[in-house]
């Protein structure tokens, strides 16, 4: 199961990157990045679980001394959530940029914005 999720995740990442690097339309690039981000999140969920470990609740079942080897660290879960939130934030910021960029040149073609170079 985990492998399916991981493979799907990587496929999504590659699709996303391919899309972002081949589409000249800025909106399409952003959509492609969100696809890639979803893929990353999927990979994190798939890889973040370590086989045979238990939930991070320290009680009689899992004494503190053995915890490191026996529980799943909760921090990666927080990481996925944070990554999703940040992904939304960055996407929103990029969309705002697109709006402004479109206002200046009336086009969404990324190759039109080459005033700065060399």
């Amino acid at each position: 199961m985990a492998y399916i999720a991981m493979t799907t995740g990587f496929v999504l990442i590659l699709i996303g990157l391919f899309g972002a690097l081949t589409n000249r339309n800025i909106l399409r690039m952003i959509v492609a990045f969100t696809v890639a981000n979803t893929g990353v999140n999927l990979v994190m969920v798939a890889v973040g679980y370590m086989h045979g470990r238990t939930a991070p609740i320290l009680d009689e079942a899992v004494p503190v001394a053995e915890a490191v080897a026996r529980i799943i660290d909760p921090v990666p879960q927080a990481l996925v959530l944070t990554a999703i939130v940040i992904g939304v934030g960055v996407t929103a910021l990029m969309l705002a940029y697109v709006y402004k960029l479109y206002e200046t040149k009336r086009t969404l073609d990324i190759s039109a914005f080459k005033d700065l170079k060399w």
Binding site: A67, V68, P76, T82, S111, K114, D115, L116, K117, W118
Partner: protein, 1041 residues
């Protein structure tokens, strides 16, 4: 101590608080933000204080009361404290700088600025990958927002490109982090480092992805077009933060990650870093836009620090000192330069000429450039010294070469920029008058100098800012408001006092050099009394040069020697740059001198074998395989200063275009620094063989060729000062020849040249300078007949050329006499012949000085000319007296030196009985010669007067022009192209081959930079592809293809 957590809490809290304020409360919002940033800075400063004074130790801050890995943790150690302080101060100062912009933009922009600063601190403080990711993303988002503060419309596209790149980086980072977690079961950096074998075994790729993501955040060359666009178009205050704050933070993150990777990943960091340092500096050569140039320079500096991070295994406990020195110098200088660029309207490099007339801002500009290049007394200098020594100790020669080459490129474009700002026609747009902005810039200047003081104290070697001569020189910065007369008297008093104070400790050799440099310097300074006003910039530069010289001759360790060498180089650069048309010449002087200094540094480093306290005496112990290389590097380094042929192209312009009283300083005095270096080198190392070739023999040839070519070039000049400048090349060739003979008389002759050349070259430069001042031209064919109008100058020139040509009775003859004795003992016949030939050639050019300037017909426009100003004539007359005295009793100076040289070359010492000097081949009695020549001269003169008593005096208008009206003076003046026949015969020797050679190299560098930088197409998508290609290429290189 306030917990470091509050740095984050205050930043975040204030940002949230801003959200609650009303839009109209602009001042309130601004005040809150400043208070928050000040508070964050204070907390960091407190930690720096506690940790640096040794009262506390590094503290781990755990959140939620649990130890990692169950919770996230932060660490506050010394490095963290210093970096957060630097980040917070950058944020605070940028906020002050942005006052007007922020009042327009309101609280939202302020909140983003706070988040940016807080997040950059977070990157530094955090010890786990989760937070590292979060803070990096916060910085990226905040960057996306702050880019838009700029008035430049193009910033919009730049910000978008930045976000595209950061998306790619995020993907790499997250995938890397999660696989690294899977391999180790923790996200804590220290936890991962403990089990790093797990990461590297199962998750080598995972670590690579994390590491490369952080490296990409450093904007590595060449996958960094997006970052350069941001640097170019963003508000300068934000570019300052991006370069200084987020650059430092990302570097620290890379450093932390390498804890996990361990030493096997260090070479990769070095490789990426050094490629970036050299590549970005190369590309910067072709830049015309100031902020983009600074962007390239940022990329380069961060690359250099990454390379240092990659070398940390061999730097040991000096690692923080070295990396920190370069990092902080970069941060202060880059932030300062970006802030400074905000005062300037135009965006070209030449637009910085608006700074003219603002000495304080020019001082700031110069300080920042010196900080960046790593010149003394700034932190980069100490760091560079220890770095290169340590690298050489481990035999990492190629890396040293690349670092020094990159640094030379950087110095080249920075000083070119500085020269343009100072010398080009002043830009019409005035400098912005904002007291806030200026205060911010001056704070950065103060920080730079303060860091210099601290790094000097932390250095294993001495603190340069506490060295008396340098302090004295820098003291003149404070005295600038005073008038020339006061400052000049102080300077002269200082030079003489320092000489008198140090007198007891000098050995005879040092005494000769000290007398020439310090007393000689004071004498030349007499000529400076003739200038009026305040002469801003002259005294700090001149005294910096003299301080360097004073420290050079007494230096006992290699560090002191090198520091003095660089100080005198910088001082003389600023001096030379003062000339009216000296911009290109000052630049080529600086580039050659710095290249020479870097060779000297490399030579010392090779010899030091890892010991930063290496003494000059230690040169004697350098063993065989290394010794000739050390010798070669040092000798070439010193020869850049003596302008040996091949390395001479800077000299004619630099000396000729300098101001009247500067020419004798840089010619009569400065050149001797190179000779002193060669003396020290030869005394310590003797002669060395490389692949069976005697190196001193090569130097002998270089000396002979310099003498020949220098004299020949001098003979064909029309410009009197250029003539004197070329003649210096020849004279230094003689001295080099004498030294390279490696025998007693050769050395004595070289010393004789040190004294003689100082006296007559200073004198001639002063008199020719005086003539040029009165006539308004330096072209000799535009002068003539000045003998009656400027008799004192005439006498000075006459005495000077008699002395220089080496005919009896003046001291030049003494030099010649020793010289002929010396070459009778050497086996090198062919270079000896060259030296012989160059003697008569010297007559050719010396003759022109007297003949064309003072004899012949007076030009119509010069009829009302007066004698040169008193203060120019006075030192000349003193020099005349000195020449006479030295001619009569050379033993006064030479006797003790002769004895001193006997320690090194016992054979061939001269006899000094009575007033006669005897050698193995004959004797020389200065006083009898003087009498004989005097009697002959007097009787011939009397006879001439007698036979001409009835001659009619020819006036100018007795001559008939034969109906011809001279159309252009040079075509009809007999003194123009005076030696045309000789030029026809020997002109091929004066083809500027060397100049063409160096010009070709410079052109090649520029052309390749201009061609290769087209890689940055400006297309955001292309940038993203380059980013991925960079990752793939680095991975392939890493895994060995």
């Amino acid at each position: 101590m306030v917990s470091a957590l509050y740095i984050l809490a205050v930043g975040l809290g204030a940002a949230f608080l801003l959200g609650l304020l009303r839009d109209e409360w602009r001042a309130g919002a601004y005040g809150v933000s400043l208070a928050a940033l000040a508070c964050m800075s204070l907390i960091s400063a407190g930690w720096v204080w506690v940790l640096a004074s040794g009262d506390g130790s590094a503290v781990d801050i755990t959140t939620a009361g649990t130890l990692p890995p169950y919770a996230i943790n932060l660490r506050m150690g010394l490095a963290e404290a210093v970096l957060t302080l630097s980040i917070n101060l950058t944020g605070l100062l940028s906020a002050v700088y942005l006052r007007d912009t922020m009042f327009n933009q309101g609280r939202r922009a302020l909140a983003v600025l706070l988040i940016f600063t807080m997040a950059a601190c977070g990157i530094v403080l955090t010890r786990d990958l989760f937070n590292l990711f979060v803070f990096f993303e916060l910085v990226a988002i905040a960057t996306g927002g702050l880019v838009l503060l700029s008035r430049d419309k193009r910033a919009l596209a730049a910000g978008f490109k930045y976000l595209v790149a950061s998306q790619v980086i995020t993907i790499l980072l997250l995938v890397g982090i999660i696989f690294a977690y899977h391999a180790t079961g923790t996200l804590n950096i220290d936890g991962m480092a403990e089990v790093s074998s797990l990461v590297l075994k199962g998750g080598g790729l995972a670590f690579f992805l994390m590491f490369i993501a952080i490296v990409l955040d450093l904007k590595p060359f060449p996958a960094n077009g997006w970052a350069l666009d941001v640097y170019e178009s963003a508000h300068p205050a934000f570019s300052a933060m991006l370069s200084a704050a987020s650059g430092s933070a990302a570097l620290f993150a890379a450093d932390k990650l390498l804890l996990i990777g361990g030493s096997t990943w260090l070479p990769l960091a070095t490789g990426i870093g050094i490629v970036g340092f050299v590549g970005a500096n190369l590309f910067a050569l072709a830049q015309r836009n100031d902020r983009r140039l600074l962007g390239y320079s940022s990329v380069a500096q961060i690359g250099l620090i990454l390379a240092v991070i990659g070398q940390r295994d061999l730097l040991g406990d000096r690692y923080l000192f070295i990396a920190g020195g370069i990092l902080l110098a970069h941060a202060v200088a880059k932030a300062g330069l970006y802030w400074l660029s905000g005062l300037i309207e135009g965006r070209t490099l030449t637009a910085w000429s608006a700074l003219q007339g603002h000495p304080i801002l020019i001082f700031a500009f110069a300080s920042f450039i010196a900080l960046l290049v790593g010149l003394p007394p700034f932190p980069g200098f100490y760091a560079k010294w220890e770095l290169v020594i340590a690298l050489a100790g481990e035999g990492r020669i190629a890396l040293i070469g690349l670092i020094l080459f990159g640094a030379l490129l950087e110095a080249g474009y920075l000083f070119r920029w500085f020269g343009r700002a100072l010398k080009r026609e002043r830009a019409p747009e005035p400098v912005a008058v904002s007291s806030f902005k200026r205060a911010v810039i001056l704070t950065a200047v103060a920080a730079g100098w303060g860091l210099g003081l601290i790094w000097g104290a932390l250095s294993l070697n001495g603190n340069l800012l506490l060295a008396v001569p340098l302090l004295f020189a820098f003291g003149f910065l404070v005295l600038e408001p005073l008038s020339v007369q006061i400052k000049n008297s102080l300077a002269i008093a200082g030079l003489v006092a320092w000489f008198v104070l140090s007198l007891p400790s000098y050995d005879p050799l040092q005494l000769i050099f000290a007398a020439v440099m310090l007393i000689g310097g004071a004498l030349i300074l007499l000529a400076s009394y003739q200038t009026q006003g305040r002469r801003i910039g002259f005294y700090p530069s001149a005294m910096l040069m003299y301080a360097g010289l004073a420290m050079l001759i007494v230096a006992e360790d290699a560090f002191g020697f090198f520091a003095a060498w660089e100080s005198l180089t910088i001082g003389s650069y600023f001096l030379i740059l003062r000339g009216q048309r000296s911009e290109p010449h000052a630049l080529s002087y600086m580039v050659f001198s710095l290249a020479g200094a870097f060779l000297i540094l490399a030579g010392f480093a090779l010899a030091a074998d890892g010991d930063p306290l290496f003494t000059l005496a230690g040169l004697k112990q350098v063993a065989a395989p290394l010794a000739p290389w050390v010798f070669l590097l040092l000798a070439i380094g010193f020869m850049t200063k003596t302008a040996a042929v091949g390395l001479h192209i800077w000299l004619p312009g630099a000396h000729a275009e300098a101001e009247t009283d500067v020419s004798p300083m840089v010619s009569g005095i400065l050149l001797k620094a190179g000779l002193f270096g060669l003396f020290v080198l030869f005394m310590a190392m003797g002669s060395q063989q490389l692949y069976g070739v005697e190196l001193t023999h090569i130097l002998l040839w270089i000396g002979a060729l310099s003498a020949l070519i220098g004299n020949l070039m001098a003979a064909f000049q029309e410009d009197a000062k250029r003539l004197l400048a070329y003649s210096s090349i020849g004279q230094m060739g003689y001295a080099l020849f004498g030294l390279a003979m490696m025998n007693h008389l050769g050395w004595l002759m070289a010393l004789m040249f040190v004294i003689n050349h100082y006296i007559y070259k200073s004198m001639l430069f002063l008199s020719v300078g005086g003539v040029a001042k009165r006539t308004g031209t330096r072209d000799m064919y535009r002068m003539g007949g000045l003998i009656t109008l400027m008799p004192l100058s005439f006498i000075a020139v006459l005495i000077g050329i008699i002395a220089m040509s080496g005919v009896p009775p003046l001291s030049g003859f003494g030099g010649r006499w020793i010289f002929y004795n010396a070459i009778l003992t050497t086996d090198s016949r062919l270079p000896m012949i060259l030296i012989f030939i160059s003697g008569p050639i010297a007559f050719l050019y010396l003759f022109r000085l007297i003949h064309t300037i003072f004899l012949g017909q007076l030009k119509d426009e010069h009829r009302r000319i007066k004698e040169a100003p008193f203060w120019l004539v006075l030192p000349q007359m003193i020099f005349v007296a000195c020449l006479m005295a030295f001619a009569l009793v050379p033993g006064l100076a030479l006797r003790r030196v002769d004895a001193y040289i006997s320690q090194f070359h016992p054979e061939g010492a001269l006899g000094w009985e009575g007033l006669t000097i005897t050698s193995a081949f004959g004797y020389w009695s200065p006083i009898s010669i003087m009498i004989v020549v005097g009697v002959i001269f007097a009787s011939l003169f009397a006879w001439l007067v007698f036979v001409n008593r009835k001659a009619q005096k020819v006036k100018q208008f007795n001559i008939v022009f034969a109906g011809e009206r001279p159309f252009r003076p040079e075509t009809t003046h007999f003194a123009w192209n005076f030696f045309a026949p000789y030029r026809k015969a020997l002109g091929f020797l004066t083809e500027p081959l060397v100049e063409r050679f160096w010009a070709a190299i410079v052109d090649l560098l520029h052309a390749s930079a201009d061609l290769l930088r087209r890689l940055y197409t400006g297309n955001g998508q292309t940038y993203a592809i380059q980013l991925l290609a960079f990752v793939v290429v680095v991975y392939l290189l890493r895994t060995g293809l």
